[in-house]
Symmetry: C3
């Protein structure tokens, strides 16, 4: 049952990442080709950067036909049914938060297999989940949103750390995964609901 459950989250998360990318592109008045590229980059950018840093080639998405299909359909839906999808803000946010959780844990596990230190594995999990959005913002000529607003990457850091601790107990791996995905999900929901963000530290001059 669990693998199927994780598969569903994978599809929903990829959908949410791609749609939010497509919307950002359309707000910048990109053409359909540019919109498609930004949708792709949003969904696969983080995992690609992780694979490049670790040396896993060819990078994941080149072999992941299912993901490509999902992203392609998501971008198409965003272009064709944009005004309708826009009304599903809450659903998209929840899918995004689930995807954030899953992609962090997947990235963390991949890094862990290469015998890297725990801090680096947490960093790579976070990069997997968050840096698609960073590359999207760079391509759209904006300062990346996650460097400025809300608790986003920090949720991934906590989730990966929790997963590491859970794994050291003898708990079932799928239970540990889902617990931590839900933890990341919950942190995101709470952060957005209560408008939590990190305090700025300004430079007194």
């Amino acid at each position: 049952m669990y693998p199927g459950f994780l598969n569903l989250i994978d599809i929903l998360g990829t959908f949410a990442f791609a749609v939010s990318g497509a919307f950002s592109a359309m707000e910048r008045k990109l053409d359909p080709f540019g919109t498609l590229i930004i949708a792709f980059v949003s969904a696969i950018g983080g995992g690609t950067l992780r694979d490049v840093l670790l040396g896993n080639f060819p990078v994941n998405w080149l072999h992941n036909e299912a993901a490509i299909l999902v992203i392609f359909s998501s971008a198409l839906s965003a272009m064709l049914f944009g005004s309708y999808l826009r009304q599903l803000t809450t659903a998209l946010f929840l899918f995004d938060a689930l995807g954030l959780g899953l992609f962090s844990i997947i990235g963390f596990e991949i890094a862990l297999k290469q015998n890297l230190s725990i801090g680096i594995c947490i960093a790579l999990g976070t990069i997997s989940a968050c840096f698609g959005g960073v590359i999207r913002d760079v391509l759209l000529n904006k300062v990346p949103l996650i460097f400025q607003k809300e608790i986003y990457a920090l949720a991934c850091v906590f989730g990966c750390a929790a997963y590491y601790l859970l794994e050291r107990t003898r708990i079932n791996t799928d239970v540990a995964r889902i617990t931590c995905i839900l933890l990341i999900f919950a942190i995101r929901v709470v952060a957005v609901r209560f408008r939590l963000s990190l305090p700025r530290i300004s430079l007194k001059q």
Copy 2:
């Protein structure tokens, strides 16, 4: 005869990519060092991204002394004879369109050798030809032009797809290559001549 012909296109295309990069840099008032870097990135960025995604290391240009020499001379020419070269707009556009065709087909062939699916090979051919310009625009702090204007990447997509179909007939490889390079070239010329571009899809809010 053909390999020499393709070599000539390679040089002309690299020249056109590097010169257009150098011009963009000079418009942004970069210094000669910055101009040189942007010329390089414009010419080799796409192939480098392709090599990194596929895991071909060291990436192509590190071994390609001929390309480096061409790019270096192109950037130098742009800096020294800029006002003269500027008058050759049409020639530069035609070289650029030829280069676009060749680099797409080269990228497509490299991807095909790694047993990737046909859609991915087309994507990698297109990335090889187009993403130098994307990285150039990101470094110059602009939204990448090809996401916004004209039919550029789409020409590469069509050309690579046509090449794949031609290769499945028993046609001579060089003939197939040149046919598809000319197809990409023709699409570009027609698109620019008749100001064709993809329709924008705006977000009704």
Copy 3:
């Protein structure tokens, strides 16, 4: 004695790169997480790009716990003691210039081991030292500073070339290293002291 001396430069240089990155981020009003990321990218971006182009995986910093610790502490110091550290402009500039020298030579040596041509090795040495700043500026949505101002990358080019020549004499390697680090350091100090920069070449239209 020398290895320790080089180690000290490594720490001071990494500190200067990370602190200057953190300051740039704070000027853009990034939150602490964004500031940390920019500090990291400034310090390890150049070496990471070098490793990716050459195919050295996992890239250096994933194994370099000392560097991570230094960067983390530097970013933290910048956030906590920013107004104090700001007064140390001269010290930070000198550390930065030393780091620039060391990272160029390290990058050059790594490239040389892979039997690449001398021009490419110089380019990779320069990339190692300078492209952290380029990625920092791209993430902060600015045209990279080193493409516009002062003699920065050019100092690395000269230093690497000098190192290559010194290595061909039978001089001791550590002596050659330190000489060239000091050469890069001296070029930077002179360039900034006398406000030397490359002349712009403008486009007459």
